[in-house]
């Protein structure tokens, strides 16, 4: 056997389960191997821990005294006198420990702690573990009840057995008495049978013999009956013994099962504890997340307020932009007009003519600039009375005695007016200019009074 094989035997030896042959081999090896000795010592320590699965049982008070007495009386070796303690009948009812413990179950915690359905898996696991524990507790209770019933049965069997034994004892006693009688009678008969004297004793002896003979027969019959009864009782006793064996085997099995169930309970209790720890951790996380949500919600409100404020500002700015755009347009129109005026003044063929007011508007004057080539004309009038409602001023170019309209215009509050216009080719050869007051919208030929005239040339 190599060293590894020796090591494989150590566990069984530590448990005290090594077969004799293998044990001898191992012990021989251990004598020389300190490593295996040390390992065996540790394994024995581990095996001894199994004793803690058993619950302690307080010994009766009398036993302590006997033990202490025992060591004082010890002679030169092992205990000598039989040490059986008498067991009074009342012990039968006294509860004593069983091979297995009842593990105290941790209280089941409620699986509902206000969590959302997202953690229902763990809740379910906790409930399931709790239910299984409850089932196992119920199974243990059932087993305990069955054990009680078995115990009752054993008690009854025991009673019956004792009754039988008592009967047997009585009958044995009766048998002994009968046999004693029988032997006495036999002796008496033998004594009477010795031949001694005359007829009279003979007749008495005959009657006596007959009586003894019949008594003999009675006793034999009685004996046979008792023997038969004895056999029956013996058979009963055997049957009850067998039954007792069976029940004890049943108890042993139940005990093993009990061990296993308790181990299961311990395992599930652990699982329950772990699940609850997980639930607690998730509850914490939940709280943290809710705090975060609250914080983000208030931040959201702040941001929305800011957005509203910026939106208002934007609207105001857009109104401002529109206003400035319109103003820009107005200014650009103005610029275009001034450029036109500028070009009219700088045109090489343009002439400036001064117009004077007539009797209708003596204080009025005007300056007219006219470019024969392009037909562009610009009129700047001053101090014209405002046109009455329904009327408007109109400018005429007179070319070859024929007046041609150059457009209508109105004055501003200060009596000033500006007109820019262009006449078509046919009327460009103008020699005189006039402004009349016409109905609103203008006419094709002058009808109203003249207000401004160019000097006659």
């Amino acid at each position: 056997m190599n060293h590894e094989e020796y090591k494989e035997l150590l566990a069984l030896e530590a448990l005290g389960a090594l077969d004799v042959g293998a044990q001898e081999t191992l012990l021989a090896h251990l004598a020389t191997c300190a490593g295996c000795q040390a390992e065996l010592s540790e394994l024995r320590d581990t095996a001894a821990m199994l004793v803690y699965t058993v619950a302690p049982v307080a010994p009766p008070a009398g036993l302590r005294a006997r033990v202490l007495e025992g060591i004082r009386n010890q002679g030169n070796g092992l205990a000598s006198e039989p040490l059986r303690a008498t067991v009074p009948r009342t012990d039968f009812n006294e509860p004593v420990e069983a091979p297995s413990n009842v593990v105290t179950l941790a209280a089941k915690k409620s699986a509902h702690e206000g969590l959302t359905t997202r953690r229902s898996t763990f809740v379910f696991g906790a409930i399931a573990a709790g239910l299984v524990i409850a089932t196992l507790v119920a199974a243990l209770a059932l087993l305990w009840k069955r054990d009680s019933e078995t115990r009752t049965q054993l008690a009854r069997a025991s009673d019956s057995l004792q009754a039988s034994q008592a009967t047997e004892a009585r009958l044995a006693e009766s048998l002994k008495q009968t046999q004693a009688e029988l032997s006495r009678e036999r002796d008496a008969t033998a004594a009477d049978a010795t031949p001694t004297s005359g007829a009279t004793p003979q007749t008495d002896a005959g009657a006596d013999t007959a009586r003894v003979a019949s008594r003999n027969n009675e006793l034999r019959t009685e004996l046979a009956r008792i023997a038969g009864r004895n056999e029956t009782l013996q058979a009963n006793i055997n049957r009850l013994s067998n039954r007792t064996d069976e029940l004890q085997a049943e108890l042993a099995r139940s005990s093993t099962l009990d061990h296993e169930r308790q181990a299961e309970i311990a395992r599930l209790t652990n699982l329950n504890r772990e699940t609850q720890a997980q639930l607690a951790a998730l509850a914490n996380r939940n709280r943290e997340l809710q705090i975060e949500i609250t914080r983000l919600a208030s931040r959201d409100t702040e941001l929305q307020t800011q957005v509203a404020r910026f939106t208002n500002q934007t609207n105001e700015l857009q109104s401002e932009v529109a206003r400035l755009t319109r103003r820009s347009g107005d200014l650009q129109n103005e610029l275009a007009r001034r450029r036109e005026a500028d070009s009219l003044i700088t045109a090489p063929g343009s002439r400036a003519v001064a117009l004077a007011g007539t009797k209708a508007a003596p204080g009025a004057t005007a300056k007219l600039i006219y470019d024969r080539q392009s037909g562009n004309v610009a009129l700047f009038a001053y101090d014209l009375p405002p046109a009455p409602p329904g009327k408007t001023y109109q400018l005429w170019l007179i070319a070859g005695g024929k007046p041609q309209s150059a457009g209508v215009f109105t004055t501003d509050q200060e009596g000033r007016a500006v007109l820019r216009s262009q006449v078509p080719r046919g009327g460009r050869n103008a020699s005189a200019f006039a402004v009349t007051l016409e109905p609103a919208g203008g006419v094709s030929a002058p009808t109203g009074d003249k207000y401004l005239l160019s000097p006659a040339s």
Binding site: A17, A48, L50, L78, R84, R151, L154
Partner: protein, 192 residues
């Protein structure tokens, strides 16, 4: 950790040394401390209260006589006197030709759950819980092999016959189971 006065291994070793010197008070103290667990063990193995009480007397007598044999370097005190108790019980179990019928009525008491002692040792219940938890972690067949070997006193071949398994399988299960148990209980075993 515990509120009850701690009875350590070290003090057990001291008691045994005192007993080896013939100190009767130390012996009485050892009895008071450990007779309950040993009686529990004997009842568990023998399944007979009266016989267990007889065996307890023999066990303590042996402790008294062999105290000088105890070597602290070779093992824990607890292991030492538990081994004496177990050996005694297994021997009695094996030498019985037939069970004592009168023991019937006392064997009934096996079935009842343990009566809680008023002075439950805190270390006792801590170890109790630890071993139950550790056993629960073993695979069922390993656990069964350990319990059959230790408490029923069955040998390797008897266990193999009982469970209808090959010898080698039983050896492996015992080895794996005990090894795993040692690992799980390391924190309790290391206090030397």
């Amino acid at each position: 950790m515990t509120t009850a006065p701690e009875h350590t291994q070290h003090s057990d070793a001291e008691l045994i040394r005192a007993i080896a010197r013939g100190d009767e008070r130390a012996f009485a103290r050892l009895y008071d401390l450990h007779s309950p667990i040993l009686l529990g063990l004997l009842i568990r193995i023998l399944r007979d209260r009266a016989e267990a009480e007889d065996a307890l007397q023999e066990v303590f007598l042996q402790i008294w006589q062999r105290a000088s044999d105890f070597d602290e370097a070779r093992g824990r005190p607890f292991t030492w006197f538990v081994t004496i108790a177990r050996s005694r019980a297994i021997d009695r179990l094996r030498s019985q030709k037939s069970r004592d019928r009168v023991a019937l009525e006392t064997a009934l008491s096996d079935v009842v759950p343990p009566r809680r002692d008023a002075s439950d040792d805190a270390i006792q219940s801590e170890h109790n819980e630890a071993i139950h938890r550790a056993l629960a972690e073993l695979p069922e067949e390993q656990r069964r092999a350990l319990l059959l070997a230790y408490f029923e006193g069955l040998s390797q071949s008897e266990i193999a016959a009982r469970l209808n398994e090959p010898l080698g399988t039983i050896k492996t299960r015992a080895r794996s189971g005990l090894s795993k148990l040692r690992q799980l209980l390391q924190h309790l075993l290391d206090v030397r």
